[in-house]
Subunit: 136 residues, 2 copies
DNA sequence: TAAAATATTAGTAATGATTACTATTACGAG
DNA sequence: CTCGTAATAGTAATCATTACTAATATTTTA
């Protein structure tokens, strides 16, 4: 399917960043290229791209959704301290669909996994704090 | 911790139902016992119960959160057709924390998994439809 | 016990992400 | 080019959730 200029710019940004921006962050960035694009257009095109499987929607329990231009199977990690969402390099766990499907009357098409904990940066800061508390 | 009458009623309802109600559904049910309870009170107490680990919050990418009074480890399935959320009887997959943690600089505290697909009921209806389409 | 301190509430207003709407603009087929 | 369709910008509306406040309930303390 051919993309409009606006949709193309949104997709390009998502494919080129490793962050997992919210709709608002996408809006702010794409405005640098198309200054008068509207937020509604961003939402509409994000939904369309998700529907076509060209973009992933991440709902990790934050107040707002995030979007990911990398559609190959991978998992996500959310820091419970800074709320940053990052990719996790792990082999896909396709077998868990089978485990879950055993004895289930329905059809399992897939799964999404969100790991949570403290990210490397916050962990470093935490340690730093403890050292500071101990020494001072 | 001692619960107020309102919080007790909310917790009781969540522990006794196998559905995974939204805050609004909790509100509607608890109103049968405490008719003038306010929606804000429901939200405030749900947040408090979640914070204390007495209730789970489910964020499966629906527009609104759902709540679960069963806190022992288990997984959830969301039907992409009727949007119903149900429990899935499966062994906990604790080992995937280790798999994911390999080579990751941060600390992984846990994970949440949502399976999706077609639930038994919708699957039955779908088949029925196809039969009907074929025959008529 | 009663008075004072604290916690919780009902009700309502505010917030913020997302969607709906509408008049206008871009664009491909004939 | 001209018509018809699709997409847009801008704005208003929606809906889940949170914030606020004056009033009520509960606990503490004397």
């Amino acid at each position: 399917m051919k993309h409009s200029r606006q949709r193309e710019a949104i997709l390009e940004y998502l494919q080129q960043t490793t962050s997992h921006p919210t709709a608002d962050m996408v809006y702010l960035h794409v405005r640098k290229v198309i200054p008068n694009i509207s937020l509604g257009t961003v939402y509409r095109n994000l939904n369309q791209l998700v529907g076509q499987g060209e973009v992933l929607r991440l709902s990790c329990g934050d107040d707002c959704d995030r979007f990911d231009g990398t559609v190959s199977p991978h998992y996500h990690f959310r820091c419970t301290q800074c709320h940053e969402v990052s990719d996790l390099v792990t082999d896909p766990l396709e077998h868990i669909n089978l485990i879950a499907g055993a004895g289930f009357g329905g059809r399992i098409d897939g799964h999404s996994v969100y790991f949570y904990g403290i990210c490397p940066d916050c962990l470093a800061n935490e340690k730093e704090c403890k050292i500071r508390l101990t020494n001072g």
